[in-house]
């Protein structure tokens, strides 16, 4: 078993939508886990909770366009022993219903799993009003909340299965796009451990979600073109953050580049800086939306526009190493 798929061709990887796998895994788990219930807010066809709904209509609740209500309804279901999974777009889960997630779910420490899809700018054409670039910051700061970002469909599957066994609130952030599968089929999740997917000594790239694949590709180019060896950490566990893996890497490389489809304030970059300053301060460059809202566009166009495509990451990493910081 490896962490990175040995079969992967980074230049032309196999692709799969995380949300499709999410829907399939839920639908599979529903057969044996009879306490599993699923809620959505009129986005079941987008989030793919529909795949569960079609098989288990009695255990699926479409709460309509009422995200606040949905979160508290999930809390009530959890309070009587059910295991609710809640989905909608990330902005409406983390943002529209923030107080409900905080006060009713997290403060009561209820077993509600929030699995929003369509996070970050790769949501694409719907534009800024729908692109959640703040949810990691929003969820990370709430006590009792666990925050997780799978990097591909395989990891999504493992995270969902594992989460069903772990009581308490979790926020599991998915994206809309068909996205590179980087993990092998036999990937085994090590909970609370962020995976070093590539070894390197010149800089550490901490990436999360979709950005992990972009970082891997950038790292490949750095090595091939410039002989720069980047260590790439797939930051699945944002909270609690896997301090050890980060610090070991930072001790080796002396600098960290963070990459997230999220504001460069308060999310992965924030977590990394907090950890480093607490344990081993080194220079950090944070890539993300630089205090700008998202906008409409095709995901790949947006990645370029916001400097989150593999080429931009490559260029930033190269400049960072060259700066000697």
């Amino acid at each position: 078993m490896g962490l990175l798929s040995p079969a992967i061709d980074l230049e032309a990887p196999k692709k799969e939508a995380l949300r499709n796998r999410f829907g399939d895994t839920l639908a599979e788990l529903g057969a044996t886990e009879t306490d599993l219930v699923v809620l959505d807010a009129d986005l079941a066809c987008s989030t793919q909770t529909k795949r569960f709904a079609d098989k288990f209509p009695d255990r699926f609740f479409n709460q309509g366009i009422s995200e606040a209500d949905m979160m508290c309804t999930a809390a009530g279901l959890a309070a009587v022993g059910k295991k609710p999974y809640v989905s909608t777009f990330a902005l409406f889960a983390a943002g529209r219903a923030w107080d409900q997630v905080r006060n009713t779910i997290c403060y009561s420490n209820l077993n509600v799993k929030i699995v929003p899809t369509h996070s970050g700018i790769s949501l694409g054409e719907d534009g800024a009003s729908h692109q959640s670039i703040e949810d990691l910051a929003l969820m990370r700061t709430i006590p009792n909340m666990t925050v997780i970002v799978p990097a591909d469909a395989v990891e999504t599957d493992r995270i969902i299965r594992w989460s069903l066994q772990v009581p308490g609130p979790m926020y599991i952030r998915l994206v809309r796009t068909n996205h590179a599968v980087i993990h092998p089929d036999d990937f085994e999740l090590e909970p609370y451990k962020n995976q070093v997917l590539r070894q390197g000594s010149d800089l550490t790239i901490c990436a999360t979600g979709e950005m992990t694949y972009h970082a891997l590709l950038a790292a490949k180019h750095l090595s091939e073109r410039d002989g720069i060896e980047a260590e790439v950490i797939n930051c699945t566990f944002i909270k609690p953050f896997d301090t050890d893996t980060l610090i070991k890497s930072a001790q080796k490389t002396g600098r960290v580049l963070t990459v997230e489809s999220h504001q460069f304030i308060g999310g992965l970059g924030g977590a990394v800086c907090e950890e480093l300053c607490a344990h081993h301060p080194v220079p950090v460059k944070r890539l993300g939306t630089q205090d700008r809202f998202g906008q409409s566009g095709k995901p790949d166009d947006l990645f370029k526009e916001y400097g989150l495509d593999p080429d931009s990451i490559y260029a930033e990493a190269k400049a960072f190493v060259a700066s000697g910081r």
Partner: protein, 307 residues
Amino acid sequence: MTESAPPADLIKNAKALPADTTTVDVDALSELSRKLRIDILDMIFTAQSGHPGTSLSCIDLLVCLFGELMQHDAKRPDWADRDRFVLSKGHGAPALYAILMHHGYIGWEEKPTLRQVNSNLQGHPASKYVDGVDISTGSLGQGLSAAVGMALGLRLNNSPAHVYCLIGDGESQEGQIWEAALSAPAHKLTNLTALCDRNSLQIDGNTEAIKPLGDIGAKFEAFGWNVLRIDGHDFRQIIAAGHRAKAWSQETDKPTMIVCQCTKGKGVSFMENEAGWHGKAPNAEQYEAALADLQPDVYYQRLKEAN
């Protein structure tokens, strides 16, 4: 404790209430309410912080719920089929703690700890600290949705348990109340009874002066609920409405809302209908005056017995 008939127009659905509440021991309930009112004031006075108005407003409802209407057992807080109660207007915590103490969920020794550091008696009910509190509340507008979730879950579990939820009238200005109000009938919940403490006051004054709610019952009716309207300090009506609500919900496949006409600060003359007593603790003089209103002899008698 008024036992006179409520104004006729109040009980629009009076005919829906069963006539026979003759077995209800109104004197005993009334006496219990009076004692719990004193407990409420004790707690708030000791803490020098808390919400007397709302607690006095709803204690008669809680006495009927926990004493007559709900199936529950303090010795088995994990009993899967116990009826559930959600205090959506969480600032009524002192009333909830008083009734939970009476029923044995909370030890009397905890009474003086309200709102102190590391107390179980948090300013607003917190599930991690108190048995009988299944969902933490305090941020208004969220409890009714949680109650809907409980009712959905219990129905999935084929449980006979019934869910009760008490909301404030000011609280009904929160949009989430109306999300839940649409949701409960959508799910045809028959194991959910909501109560609204219609005391016509919120913090900054009269609800009708701030953001008028008018006929709240009519609004719930328009959202698909059965609605009963009662005097929230008349024990016979409360209990009859509670029974009637369950039956009516069964008959109609709809949840039922009981709009309870209440008096904020009920039982303490100078607190009644005074917005100023929403979130203020009485000073020593006011505390004595309040006890006088609530018949201090009983109070001191109980103190003596306790020692």
